[in-house]
Symmetry: C2
Subunit: 349 residues, 2 copies
């Protein structure tokens, strides 16, 4: 563990703007008083928000950015405004070393494009991937990637995602040799696309990788604790993640209907409130907020646009953990290890 990091915050991203982002920083500071921040955005909007939270002003510098990236901005438009927008300047602070990580709740496509252009991908990585931690019934959370950064992926991409996902699980959860699987529509070797079959063959053969590769896993086993890292293309990952969110909400809505269907059910609901609270805590996406772009020369964390201050605090916590456990160095070591074993071809060569 190094010293507590300085974190760049895009204070203008997200559905609720500076109020929620600044309150998230205040919660993070209360949790870890050694943290410090640079808050990027409209100074006149940020300053009063900072003033609401005792002690925050001393730990948070405000860096004015005249413009904001909107949810409608296309990535190609966004990258032209890297030097004037809160998002672009937060990323630049990571590049210059002024901050050790950046957190933004803004437009994902723009964040990806601007981060890639400013920070570049690590040597040996063709494309960065977006990874998140999901709740699981096992002893630890589940790392799922890619979540939408890459709509279509080839074999090399999938293998590189596996290497980066394993490094993430080691850094964020301290698992020495994470159990890695590829998401597929069956577990037999002949199932799925050619890209999946080839990626499985390469990962199975590369026994020098710091992971336990266990083949394929089906989507009904996602949260069962049978894998630490599950790898898929960005299209499928986005579908799986959003299906989880939608189904959890669907069940919660059914529960609400069921519990308000009769006086007796209402009474039962009131009595079981502590249990329901426990459930809500477990399912609240804010408690798993903070997805990471893996494979860049720098740590960029994406907070959900609709996250609460608690969710923003969580995303800042993800950034802290990855800085103090040196995620970038771990991925770089793995890539060196691969080059040593497969200098010309094969895995991620």
């Amino acid at each position: 563990m190094g010293a507590a990091p300085r974190i760049a915050i895009d204070a203008m991203g997200g559905d609720s703007g500076p109020a929620v982002m600044v309150e998230g920083a205040a919660l993070a500071l209360a949790r870890n008083p050694a943290l410090c921040f640079r808050l990027f955005g409209d100074e006149s909007a940020i300053r009063p928000e900072v003033a609401r939270h005792a002690g925050l002003a001393a730990a948070a510098e405000i860096a004015h950015a005249p413009e904001t990236i909107s949810g409608e901005d296309k990535p190609s438009q966004a990258i032209r405004r890297a030097r004037t927008t809160s998002m672009g300047l937060a990323i630049a602070a990571v590049k210059s070393g002024e901050a050790q990580a950046a957190v933004s709740a803004g437009n994902t496509g723009a964040l990806m494009a601007m981060s890639k252009l400013a920070l570049r991908t690590m040597p040996g990585i063709d494309r960065p991937a977006l990874a998140a931690m999901l709740p699981s019934l096992g002893d630890n959370d589940l790392v799922l990637l890619d979540l939408g950064a890459n709509t279509e992926c080839d074999t090399r991409n999938l293998v590189q995602f596996a290497v980066m996902g394993a490094a993430y699980a080691r850094a964020a959860m301290g698992i020495d040799a994470p159990r890695v699987r590829l998401l597929n529509i069956g577990t037999e070797e002949m199932k799925g696309t050619d890209e999946l079959k080839d990626a499985a063959a390469q990962l199975r053969a590369a026994d020098y990788l710091r992971m336990n590769f266990d083949g394929f896993i089906e989507a009904d086993r996602l949260g069962r604790g049978e894998a630490d890292v599950i790898v898929t293309d960005g299209f499928t990952g986005n579908i799986a993640l959003k299906t989880i969110e939608g189904t959890a909400r669907f069940v919660a809505d059914l529960l609400r209907r069921a519990f308000t269907s009769s006086l007796r059910s209402k009474a039962g609901f009131l009595i079981s409130k502590p249990a329901m609270h426990l459930l809500r805590v477990h399912l609240d996406p804010n408690n798993h907020n903070g997805a990471v772009f893996l494979g860049l020369n720098g740590i960029i964390v994406k907070s959900h646009g609709g996250a609460t201050a608690q969710g923003v605090d969580n995303a800042i916590g993800v950034a802290e953990r990855l800085v103090s456990h040196d995620l970038s160095r771990r991925i770089a070591e793995d890539l060196d290890n691969i080059r040593a074993h497969a200098p010309t071809a094969g895995v991620a060569a």
Copy 2:
């Protein structure tokens, strides 16, 4: 509505074999005494099961099949055994007109391959699709297809799936102009693969189709009642369906843990039992059992391998409804309609 149909049952498929399939038929007969069955499989195993259910013997003929398709049989191996297996003979009964539909809980890949070879796809359809009805918060269930029959799909396939899915919703739920959407990772026109974008453009332009095409939908909105039919490729559909199953089970497991975490919670649980029962009824996959291969010259229903007798009854109910509402004729009419409007190119031409 025509007369009650005769249904061919592959009595050997599924995890529990003849006992559950035969009990499912008995339940269906109790629900609709006009039904009759042909049960295909090992006569010595089926006969004692039939004898357990009063009145079933009079409505169910047993047709001996010496062999069974196993879960491990590859489709290419299965099709060579069409004349000796319970699955192959049940399909043949639909082809010959001896039965109006077949229900099997066996190996999906084998069922698809054998059905396609025996019944052939309808003119204008390149590939059949597997469609299921899912629970929704709207007024009716949701038709989701393809669920794994086609791992990779092109624009033509997706457009044809939309046409067949709409016909299915009309036949099974009586919706005159079903709201149809394509599953995607965003709702903006520029999102997703080229196949999805092209399919959306074709469906939007083809205003003569008997559906309301509403563009894209994201996976977190699947069960919200915003669409009657959602179309996707078989890989993505399989991932989405299994993610729904897995998440529902995940939440149920969390609930169980939460409700047994303290005496107070247990008491609350007991009081709310009717509400929990309602929830279980809604989420039990047996209540939505019975997926249909659309686009074949004949009705083949796939029952889940792990379905209970109640689930098998449900799958038989799906077959009954599609026979009495003449699904095949409806799809054929839609295809004729398309040929009339776009005789050389365009939608499903």
